[in-house]
Amino acid sequence: MMRVEVCLSALVFALFIVSLGVGPADVSATDSLRALFDTSYGPLTMVMQEIRLPRAILAALIGAGLGLTGAALQGYLRNPLAEPGLIGVSGSAAFGAVLALHGGLAMGAVFGVPLMALLGALGGVILVLLLAGSRGGSMTLILAGIAISALASALTSLALNLSPNPFAANEIVFWMMGSLADLSMTHVALALPFLMAGAVLIATTARGLDALTLGEDAAQTMGINLSRLRLLLVLGTAAIIGGATAVAGAIGFVGLVVPHILRPLVGAQPSRLLWASALGGAIMLQLADIAVRVILPERDLKLGVITALIGAPLFLHLIYKTRRDLG
């Protein structure tokens, strides 16, 4: 492992520990960490194991998934503006969740929202693959993704428009801002298989993404099967984004900004950027999740708001840098 990855891994670990120590309960960080393993702390152990631990795990895992898929899609599309939402999966997952909230499913079944989000993601990815065709290139994938995103966004707006009461509408709007509050180890168990399966699928595309640096023709003549690569990438992204959106709602900017920041540090090689971005995504989401608990602990600040607030200025800086480089 290279120096950059080692530094990023150390930072992920450090933030994981910090994340475990942050919360409304007025206890020292050392006591919190001890309570995680020592049941003699009573309710504090329960707080640590049932509330803070799943939250810290999900912040790292979902952040990593968002960073990984962002880097993979930017590599595949050879476009630094690509992000996981581009293939329509996050939009359709959000629509599935909104339907559950709209229909009051969240009240009856605790996992109604995540399961509907996963169903939405599955529906979205099937439609995108059907629309893009089995032999189409990256352009048809983008067009199909935009079409499905637009449709999902329109249907989400419709659900919001027709929401049965202001509370349901409020709940939908808040859910769409993304949050890691009130998640349990069951949520970890629900999301983990999807995140892991997606990461494995995307890992198999690393070499193809490197070859695509030189364009589709060159990649094909280096032995890369582009149709297979695209299928693996779409399925991997769908699994990760579906799993992440199901438990944490829609969280933007991580997949867009993190690969951008880290690209120069790994020599811009797409395969190396995948893992660096996964670590970078974990760092960004952990930071954002710590921020929502520290800045305004009593106001339930939403995670998506913070990632956008961190992401937008970083992005503006990148635009400024690009313009300066272009002279």
Partner: protein, 251 residues
Amino acid sequence: MSLLKLRNLSVKLRQRQVFRDISFDIGAGECVGLIGPNGAGKTTLMRATLGLLPSEGQSSLTTLTALQRARAVAWMPQAREIAWPISIERLVALGRIPHLPLGQTIPRQDQAFVDAAIDQMGLDQFRSRAASRLSGGEQARALIARALAQDTPLLMADEPIAGLDPAHQISTMQVFRDLADDGKASVVSIHDLGLAARHCTRLILLAEGGILADGPPAEVLTPDLIARAFGVSVWHELTPNGPVFQPLEVV
């Protein structure tokens, strides 16, 4: 030894028949120049040969699996795409992809191919420089080095010397000729008839929807065939360094 066999290859693009029934063999030791006017189908012929375009007829390369093909032929497309600012050394190392077992690092024996290709194309001073910081001609040389690092029996390049300065045009054509002299083969599309005549062992003149002439440069580059294919008259002289062609006027 035959490295490429085409039999009755025909390509139709958007209802237009680009060429029909093209057949030829390319063997080890040949440096083949593919010449012809714009739109004659040089790029299309090379892409169809590689299986990058749907075609009728047969190309021996399209019967291979993707990985077998990647070990049989290296391809430098005309579009010089380098999506990310990777270093020249990493760019050239991409050529080793078809030879690597699963895993990302390039083994020591593969690094030797990368070093040799960088050296052949005179890129040693740019080794660690980002590709985006090189000129168009330097990028083209890096892409040729990438194809050389693939170390295949056959190398095909689409207008590889377009945009290069005269010294690098000559040295690059010499690289393609050296491959042939070393028992491999190269196919390059080229517009400079003088360079084609001096460095290629064989020329294929593509025009009028098929092969107009195929043979040693002296047999293909006759005033009549040049006028018929390109619509120009040329001044032609045999110098101690080989033939020189200068187009004079459109006929």
